[in-house]
Assembly symmetry: C3
Homo-oligomer: 384 residues x 3
């Protein structure tokens, strides 16, 4: 614990005891031997509590050391107080449990073209392919069975995991991580009819640019532009199995969650958040800081800061009202039928509505025939 506290205090630039950024309470001399989640922690492991809503679970945890916000009750545990417990916990993990790295150099069995330029501190594992004209920067890992096709540039401190494929002319910045199976630079899906109406591919001769600090999840695909650039800007984070079509532009520090598909030319603003399973029609713009709910289908531009949900996507409040109303739709049908009956009864009494309404349609209730309404008077209008 003392060691951890020293580290945390040092890295957050705070003197001990001076700031909630990193103050130590309790027995700071306690030895900590590992990191764990609240539910699985053993006595000698340290945990973190993100916020007050997770604090209750701490009472049942065996952990005797914790990183959490100021003001959260930790019982008798040693505690590092931090304004960003998850962030600081993560930095501790990375410092004390570093990721295993291959040694620098080109391992025997790697397939490196003679015209490629590899920084001597980079690691090219056996089975990796670095094609003609490629450049790999300092301390970057190109793992086994990863492929840089040709004229690909990768900056410093990157990690191209196994099975990732980066096609020709792609430019990748510093500190970029491509998880296994990522494909960059595949041809975009664009076809035009020939004289006989057969689909013929539009030549896709643009490229992909991945800026610094971008991380891309497993089996995600980013297509090359038709003529210009498909760009993922600095600090954007993209989850697994996302599809980014040709000519998209993903803003700085945007987050795109799994299985979302962005059609050609979609623009995503800075720090926008696109949740899982979203789809967009082509050439629309998602504004800066916008939030798109999971599984939404976007057909129109989204203003900066807007929150959109549903398919077709609408503003959050409108969507909540529609979903709530939808849930009660069968009830609404019954209410309308009741109104119709009451009005007919009333009309019968007044004897002024005996004939069928011109152009009217029979009321139908077949859609809730299974609802036990006991009303056998309605008929299926047959129009569906």
């Amino acid at each position: 614990m003392a060691q951890l506290a020293d580290f945390l205090i040092k890295t957050s630039g705070q003197a001990p005891g001076r700031s909630t950024e990193a103050t130590v309470e309790g027995d700071a001399s306690k030895e900590v031997h590992g990191f764990a989640s609240l539910g699985s922690a053993k006595d000698d492991e340290i945990v973190f509590v993100r916020d007050a809503t997770h604090a209750a679970a701490l009472a049942d945890s065996a952990a005797r050391a914790v990183i959490t916000l100021p003001g959260i009750d930790v019982g008798a545990r040693a505690v590092l107080r931090s304004l960003r417990p998850a962030h600081d916990f993560s930095r501790l993990v990375e410092e004390f449990v570093p990721r295993r790295r291959p040694p620098p150099g080109i391992e025997a069995g790697a397939q490196v073209d003679s015209t490629a330029t590899i920084d001597p501190t980079a690691s090219i594992e056996a089975g990796a392919r670095v094609g003609p004209g490629c450049r790999v920067g300092a301390r970057t890992v190109v793992a086994s069975n990863a492929t840089l096709v040709a004229d690909v540039e990768v900056g410093q401190d990157g990690w191209i995991y196994s099975g990732a494929v980066v096609r020709e002319d792609t430019r990748i910045g510093d500190r970029v991580i491509l998880q296994p199976g990522v494909v960059l630079g595949g041809d975009g899906f664009g076809y035009v009819p020939d004289a006989e109406g057969r689909p013929v591919a539009m030549a896709q001769r643009g490229c992909v640019v991945i800026e610094d600090d971008v991380e891309i999840g497993a089996n995600t695909t980013v297509d090359r532009a038709t003529l210009d650039v498909t760009r993922v800007r600095r600090g954007a984070k993209i989850d697994n199995q996302v599809q980014i079509a040709h000519n998209c532009d993903i803003g700085e520090e945007a987050l795109i969650v799994a299985q979302t598909g962005l059609s050609g030319g979609t623009l995503v603003g800075r720090r926008a958040i696109v949740m899982a399973g979203v789809g967009t029609t082509g050439h629309l713009r998602i504004g800066e800081g916008a939030f798109i709910g999971a599984r939404s289908g976007l057909h129109h531009d989204v203003p900066d800061g807007a929150r959109m949900f549903g398919t077709p996507a609408t503003a959050e409040r409108s969507w909540h009202r529609t979903v709530a109303a939808l849930r009660r739709l069968p009830e609404l049908v019954r209410r309308v039928r009741r109104l119709e009956r009451r009005l007919s009864a009333s009309a019968d009494e007044q004897a002024d509505e005996q004939t069928a309404e011109p152009g009217g349609e029979p009321a139908s209730d077949s859609f809730d025939r299974n609802a036990g309404s006991g009303d056998a008077s309605g008929g299926d209008s047959g129009r569906d």
Copy 2:
């Protein structure tokens, strides 16, 4: 046929003629040279008929031998009667048309680290990579261009197909099949803001455990846990392009169909069935034996045995009623408008509702202006 009958009877542990598990009727001496579907079978091939609903197609099939349930009319064909025709047919296929296997041993061109342990009966093909500290069990195949990164354990009788990538510290049981392009152990998608609000990755140092008899489809991704274990339990079967996020726990013999995405910490109960294209919000539980309809979006826990459909998902009966009502929604709108007119007419007669209702809104019919209702009196309220 005789040979097939012998095999089937032997393997199902039944004496001939004693049980519907495997009785032979018709000319058991007929030669059978292959297996086929009902539609494509030639005269010397054997087919299966799963149940009575497929029996009609048998009449048009050229096949002279069939495996099917007791009681189904097969005409003059030779027949093996079985209580599980599809299952027994499949076992016959596997026995008589074994999958081609590479020979045991490490093929020239395989990249096996010197610290890896390979059972002598395992097959490591050319271009496969087995990294430091890995262990591969008896009769397991690691195919060309598959990658076991480091400290990966794979049990007996498994098959890691080409292009699959298993990252460090993953543990895989016996009889596990990873189809091409599967990724196990990619980093989970978890980011926290730093002091400037920039997303910073939470360290992902947990692992993935795949238990015995699990099968995983092509290009499916299973992320490693943040701190603990992402687990796929014994006998679960997962289809292609499924996304399983960090810290999920997939129950024994659960079935997860293609392109479904399970958010972080989703728990799937034993023998639950999740159909294609489903999405879940994080940290929910799908009960044992539950059934989730295709393309559903789950926001809440699902009880054991429940059947859920739609987005947001609701119980099956409720969903059917909502879908049916939704289909008639334009009609309902017309019915309400008619009621409004009748009530206004009635009110006019009574002369007691001449003034606009306070706070009321004009009736709108612009949404069915194309419906040919002939009603031109309504206007677009302009609120959408």
Copy 3:
């Protein structure tokens, strides 16, 4: 420009000046040094304008040469008039900016089985695997870390990109492109219960056939048939991350857009268009020339030429009406409540409906409690 015009005129089989297929206007001697999009073009680059809706952007473009339809105003620019500007532009790009190809032959570091047959003009790159019994045709590229497992046939002029995996017995025609990470021939997802109810895989011993001129996008998966053939017919184009299950049959020149999933046995007709993110239940047929809107969920056959949208999918007109009505559903709820109040008031006056309606349900308005209606009389019926 003169050179381009010569080429275009030659390849379109038209004599100069004779046809709108390829007539040159303006200064045909102008030098053109590259191809660009309207927005990024420099002075010496040529652009194309697809149709009149894009013509306005031309005015702001620096390009002094353009390919476009007859009749579109291009100012003082040199222009090639064409009836298919995009198509002809693309052919020019391909002619003048050819894709970089690896040299013919088997590169050192390729893993080619001794029983494979490779045309001497084919290119097998380092790290590629061509397994036993495979055949690779003239001028076809098998790129680094691509895998042809066994007994795979690939025709002429194909391109199997890095990371693609083609499993045993797949047959691939001429001019086929598999983008990185494509998986052909994975086992279909079919399980039957054994005597204890455990899921057991149905043997998948059919194959995949990819006909001539098919193109398949990155990380798309096509499963082998259970017993027969999963077929993608001549000229079909499939985008990224599409899932095509066992026994599907994709029609000639059909287009399947990204992240669509076709369940087992789906038939797609000739020149049908299936937009992104669509899902189908098994064994249905999409008719010739049908159009399926993005994110639709199909439960039934689709007639030839039909246009379907939504989940469950309905005909386009019906879907538009439902979506419009859905957007106004909260308003409809208020209108019904107003009718109920008016009728109650009317009934009160007539003193003939004082008692609760037998079997009736209380009107509920809790779903728009946030809508500011000022109506506090309703209660949540609690049935949801």
